[in-house]
């Protein structure tokens, strides 16, 4: 599913990743750990195709539309409501039965009540929940999750746990996290950056 050979990325003169070889097969869960600034987010952005490698190469053999990428930011319009944001993404991803899918997701992540509220006025945890909805909306086959637990309360954490557990085998996952205890039991591979 994902294969990298000699992968490296520099920002200006700063070298963040270097000479990384990687092979993630379909259905695996790769756990990425490492201290702050070690390049976890950079790696996930490379996998998502948002950044291009400056050395080596990386290949993801899935079309863009089958990937879900959860970043540190929510990647939604602050001035639109939760519903409007998901509706936009639903249209762009050509989600079948958009209304129902969105409704179910909002319900599941506890945002149904706030669906008509401006995202800019969401609390941090609510924004993270919305970002999760956005990522899951189109049922991606590859999920790239950058610190999925951040800002979430206990109940939302178990929701993420469920997402990870239910994907087991059917979906490829790459998870970067500072709280690897939740993820480790499910991981089939682990990558520790330094």
């Amino acid at each position: 599913m994902i294969s990298a050979r000699g992968l490296g990325r520099r920002f200006g003169s700063k070298r963040v990743l270097r000479d990384l070889d990687l092979e993630v097969r379909s259905g695996e869960l790769l756990l990425v750990t490492g201290p702050n600034g070690s390049g976890k987010s950079t790696l996930l952005a490379l996998m998502a195709g948002l950044l291009a490698p400056t050395e080596g190469e990386i290949e993801v053999d899935l079309p863009r539309g089958r990937i879900g990428y959860l970043a540190h930011e929510a990647l939604v319009y602050k001035e639109l409501t939760a519903l409007e944001n998901l509706d936009l993404y639903g249209r762009l991803y050509h989600v079948p039965e958009r209304r129902e899918t969105i409704g179910a997701l909002l319900e599941r992540f506890g945002l149904w009540e706030s669906r008509h509220q401006r995202v800019g006025s969401f609390s941090r945890g609510m924004q993270q929940r919305l970002a999760l909805c956005r990522v899951l909306l189109h049922g991606p086959e590859l999920l790239l999750l950058d610190e999925p637990y951040s800002g979430l309360d206990a109940s939302a954490r178990t929701l993420v746990d469920d997402v990870l557990a239910e994907s087991g085998g059917s979906r490829t996952l790459v998870v970067a996290s500072h709280e690897p205890e939740h993820v480790r039991p499910l991981a089939t591979q682990a990558l520790a950056l330094a």
Binding site: G49, L50, E73, L75, V76, E79, L88, L92
Partner: protein, 212 residues
């Protein structure tokens, strides 16, 4: 036809955003109206028709610039542009939708500016309207691409006018020419040619501007 469905979804969102936050259009209206007021005060009553047309074109150009400067403001917060780039739609659809949004704003600004111009200065002929429409197309096409470029840079607000003005000088020439000269067809044709060339170029190269 999913391409046009994508464009429609994206353009719809732009209109919605503007209705929600009312950031761009009021500034454009303010600018174009005050520009006309200033010109009204500063042009002597016996100034030639050509002089006031030239001023109108300058006002329109800078109004467009003002609108373009804010075109990607909403996308810059929270990295939404990355979200759109990751969606499976063709990236040029993002450009096309933003273009349509800019065109709507320009259209509204001109729907105010042209009658005001007719009121303050002189009647508006069909060739002026045609030239304005054709010029809008070119300005929106090139401007949207350049606005996306400027948004990716550090000195965005300052950069856009610098990138934009040298590229649109031909539009000004065509627009002024079409309204001043007796035989506007040549100039209108030139504007249409400009639109065609640069719309295709911008359409084709937008992908490289928003994605690595």
């Amino acid at each position: 036809m999913t391409y046009f469905a994508d464009v429609a979804a994206l353009a719809r969102k732009d209109i919605l955003l503007e209705l929600r936050s009312r950031d761009t259009l009021p500034a454009m209206l303010l600018f174009v109206v005050s520009a006309l007021v200033v010109f009204h005060f500063s042009l002597p009553s016996d100034a030639s028709a050509a002089a006031s047309t030239g001023l109108l074109w300058i006002a329109l150009l800078f109004t467009a610039l003002l609108g373009l400067g804010r075109a990607f403001a909403a996308e810059r917060e929270q990295r939404v542009l990355d979200g759109l780039v990751l969606a499976p739609c063709d990236r040029s659809a993002i450009w096309l939708a933003k273009c349509l949004g800019v065109l709507v704003f320009l259209g509204v600004a001109e729907a105010v500016a042209l009658p005001a111009y007719a009121l303050f200065f002189e009647p508006v002929g069909w060739e002026l309207v045609a030239a304005v429409v054709l010029a809008d197309l070119g300005l929106a096409a090139v401007g949207t691409l350049l606005a996306a470029m400027a948004a990716a840079s550090r000195a965005r607000e300052l950069l856009l006018p610098l990138l934009f003005l040298p590229l649109v000088i031909p539009v000004v020439v065509g627009g002024v020419g079409a309204t001043v000269v007796d035989d506007p067809a040549r100039y209108l044709g030139f504007l249409a040619l400009y639109d065609l060339i640069f719309a295709i170029l911008s359409w084709a190269s937008f992908e490289y501007v928003v994605a690595e």
